[in-house]
Amino acid sequence: MTGYILKRLLSAVPVLIGITIIVFLIMAMIPGDPATAILGSYATPGNVEKLNRDLGLDKPLVQQYVIWLGNMLTGDFGTSFALNRPVLDEVLERFNATLVLAGTAFVLCSFLGVIAGVISAANQYGAADKGITFVVLLGISIPSFFLGMMMILFFAVNLRWFPVSGMWPIYGDRTLGVLLSHLAMPATALAVVATGVIARLSRSAMLEVLRQDFIRTARAKGVHERGVIWRHALKAALVAIIPVLGIQAGFVLSGAVYIEIVFQWPGVGRMLVDAILKRDILLVQGGVVFVAACYVVFNIVVDVAQSLLDPRIKT
């Protein structure tokens, strides 16, 4: 087992190095440079050259890359041009906010999606199934940013149930309740599409299981229908559902970008969009590397967990 984990960890090293090269090259190749972005209308060739020199961007690319990588290995991600603070501080703070948002949305969509899927399957072609299918398809079809804007208009501007945007209020204590009131709309808007996908796939996974012999056996021996569905069938279907949850976790995390912009959530997605527009090279590079590293670690954890559950994988 230890050998397998070690092997997986080692294989992550070239992946991470590849990521640093790709993100560095992309930022080097896109037109426009930080000096132009900072100077705006005042970007004369002379001013741009001077500012690039001040920012240390006049060195050859290879040298810039080596310096950046070397600093990063010592934990120094550099300083953001546009925000004038250490990249790592900014990324960690922002990533934290994204985790709160995406984590809540993921829990929401997993529970609601699986429950809706099971109910649908148990009532195949019944009224509940049709109703759920309708709602689910509606949810999948509405773009999350549009849903977010509509929620703001209805629940925040008209009904004033929830605050419009942000993660914390400007004044007052930072209690869990306050956080939840800010979290309710963005987390729901973010969860809707994933809930739909999970519900559809859970339904078909359940239907497949429900047709199998052991379900008939369970019913025949007099197990209560509730037990058949939730204990016997769902347990078997989960094998097919859990990988879907894993994929949806990725979608929720990347879909957070739109939601963070609509609800002004101080997360890492909004940070990256702003940073790209401002050509804040170090912040983009640091942010992407950090998020990518998290994905890699997450994947390793999932792989290891699966190999623990299913010994066939460990080869």
């Binding site: 037109p31 426009g32 440079d33 132009t36 972005a37 900072i38 100077l39 705006g40 209308s41 005042y42 970007a43 004369t44 060739p45 002379g46 001013n47 500012l51 001040d54 920012l55 925000l83 004038n84 603070r85 703070e93 429950i115 109910i119 009532n123 509940a128 804007m149 703001i152 208009l153 925040a156 501007v157 009904l159 004033r160 149930w161 929830f162 605050p163 419009v164 945007s165 942000g166 993660m167 914390w168 209020p169 400007i170 004044y171 309740g177 306050v178 939840l180 009131s181 800010h182 309710a184 229908e225 912009i261 609509v262 609800f263 002004q264 101080p266 940070m271 702003d274 527009l277 050509r279």
Partner: protein, 525 residues
């Protein structure tokens, strides 16, 4: 089977209960506190060090925390004393001697004196200064004419320029010229931008990244303590969300209201403020090659574009039609006799026929966004339609803002016939000097990307720059505007009116032509 119903009902009940609970919690917060003004800003500031920043967004905070030696008089772009009580300009216009106000202290308790002024300008301009590393200082070229800064005595400071330079005073009124506390720079070094200290009406309170910058009243302010207790600047980058926050009562003052959202704020609960500023939106025409090398075709383009329709329909009245290269906000330097080119497609066709440019193909650079560019894609398309109506064949190429600048600033030669552009400046000298002189062609480091050249204009601009008498400068600028309008190196399109919305709890607020946000007189109930 019954179980599912229970589950669903339970789920519904739990959800509703949750929504109501959360709603009650947040409902209590909808009302913002009295005497604390919450401002919806368009972005997170970069730093609160006036020498290090370039964005209007950051200036809005800085102008309330710092003072300069001079400032713009309320409602104008004319310079009046601030930290300096008075000043003298030497006969040849190269020496400026300022007498400083007495007894002023920075927020950190250190004294404001001539040494502090010298420290500020040396830090920006002198590469050997021990605190030059607190930069970079991207706009330091505003003061590149300063040869030396000299402390005459504690209350007197003298700038020696490398030549007469008339815009010097108004550059001192620009945020780049705001005076920071040397003691605070020494204490915080490169972290000064997050620990600012000035002499202004408000002191720095706290900066919570991506949430808010809080500034608090300075009871000892030399020009009278502000009415407000504090101001909170919230960065809300999305314009729709900013509008929603304003409607929901989460902010009291919103800047840069999108034109389409203005109708939401009709009625007694809100006040919409408008103020024309030193902004001009124009099309650079390539006067070096192609159809626009002929002045008649350039004039034809000015007649062909329906500017009234642009400002009223596309911009929903948030701008006015521009007559020439100088915005009317520079009241003293603006030539009021100038009439905008009327919308006259027939006249345009006539001129095009005279020049033999019928059916000419034009490449038009359009940007997707960018500072002061208003609604560049919609405006670009409307302009394209107007030009096609008089017989041109216009091909639009669209670029993201930074890429766009990278294409346009080095010059349009070989690439395009026309390009959108907009400028906001603080002195009538800046834009024409940087973008209309022959010596400002891109290969000489200027912004004259359309290669306009007229020796008369060159001479007028050079003379205006070295004249120290404002009336004389005004005369020269007015003459320049007439010639430039006739030569039509640009299509003069619009002067933007900055807007803001305040709630009915806010009083005494007015926008400034400088586009700065000055809050020391504002009251909030």
């Amino acid at each position: 089977m019954s179980l599912f119903h229970v589950t669903r009902r339970g789920l519904l009940a739990t959800g509703t209960a949750l929504a109501l609970t959360l709603g009650v919690i947040s409902g209590a917060q909808a009302q913002t506190p009295t005497d604390v003004l919450i401002v919806g800003q368009i972005a997170e500031p970069k730093a609160l060090d006036p020498a290090a920043v370039t964005a209007v967004n950051d200036f809005r905070i800085l102008m309330n925390v710092y003072d300069g030696l001079v400032r713009y008089r309320d409602g104008t772009l004319e310079v009046e004393p601030a930290l300096a009580e008075s000043w003298e300009i030497s006969e040849d216009g190269t020496e400026y001697t300022f007498t400083l106000r007495e007894g002023i202290k920075f927020h950190d308790g250190s004294d404001f004196d001539a040494e502090a002024v010298k420290f500020n300008f040396d830090r920006m301009l002198n590469e050997d200064h021990p605190y030059h590393n607190t930069g970079p200082f991207p706009l330091s070229f505003f003061f590149s004419s300063i040869e030396s800064t000299e402390v005459v005595d504690a209350r007197t400071v003298r700038f020696t320029l490398n030549g007469p330079y008339a815009p010097f005073l108004s550059n001192l009124a620009y945020p780049t010229g705001l005076i920071v506390s040397p003691a605070a720079v020494m204490e915080h070094g490169t972290e000064f931008g997050r620990n600012p200290s000035g002499t202004g009406a408000f002191t720095f309170g706290e900066w919570r990244s991506n949430e808010a910058v809080v500034i608090e009243a300075n009871p000892d302010y030399w020009d009278g303590a502000p009415e407000l207790q504090a101001v909170v600047f919230r960065p809300i980058t999305d314009a729709n969300t900013r509008t929603a926050e304003m409607l929901a009562g989460g902010i009291d003052l919103m800047v840069e209201v999108p034109p389409v959202a203005l109708s939401e704020f009709q009625g007694d609960a809100y006040t919409v403020h408008e103020q024309a500023g030193p902004h001009v939106w124009f099309l650079i025409l390539n006067a070096k090659e192609g159809p626009f090398a002929d002045v008649r075709v350039r004039q034809a383009a000015n007649y062909a574009v329906n500017k009234e329709a642009l400002v009223n329909e596309v911009l929903e009245g948030t701008a006015e039609v521009a007559a020439g290269p100088t915005p009317p906000a520079f009241a003293w330097a603006y030539n009021p006799d100038l009439e905008p080119y009327p919308y006259d497609p027939d006249k345009a066709r006539e001129l095009i026929a005279e020049a033999g440019a019928e059916g000419a193909e034009l490449t038009f650079f359009v940007t997707e966004g960018g500072s002061g560019m208003l609604d560049p894609i919609a405006m670009g398309t409307a302009i394209q339609a107007d030009l096609e109506a008089v017989g041109f064949d216009v091909k639009i190429e669209t670029y993201e803002w930074n890429t766009f600048l990278g294409e346009v600033n080095p010059g349009l030669e070989g690439k395009a016939d026309m390009a959108e552009m907009a400028w906001m400046t603080n002195d009538p000298d800046t834009l024409p000097f940087l973008a209309l002189r022959t010596a400002a062609w891109p290969d000489q480091g200027g912004f004259n990307s359309g290669y306009y050249s007229n020796p008369e204009v060159d001479a007028l601009l050079e003379a205006a720059r070295v004249a120290t008498d404002q009336d004389e400068r005004a005369r020269l600028y007015k003459e320049m505007q007439v010639i430039v309008q006739e030569d039509a190196p640009w299509v003069f399109v619009a002067n933007w009116k900055q807007n803001a919305v305040t709630s009915d709890r806010v009083e005494n607020f007015a926008l400034q032509p400088s586009f700065f946000l000055l809050l020391d007189d504002v009251v909030k109930k």
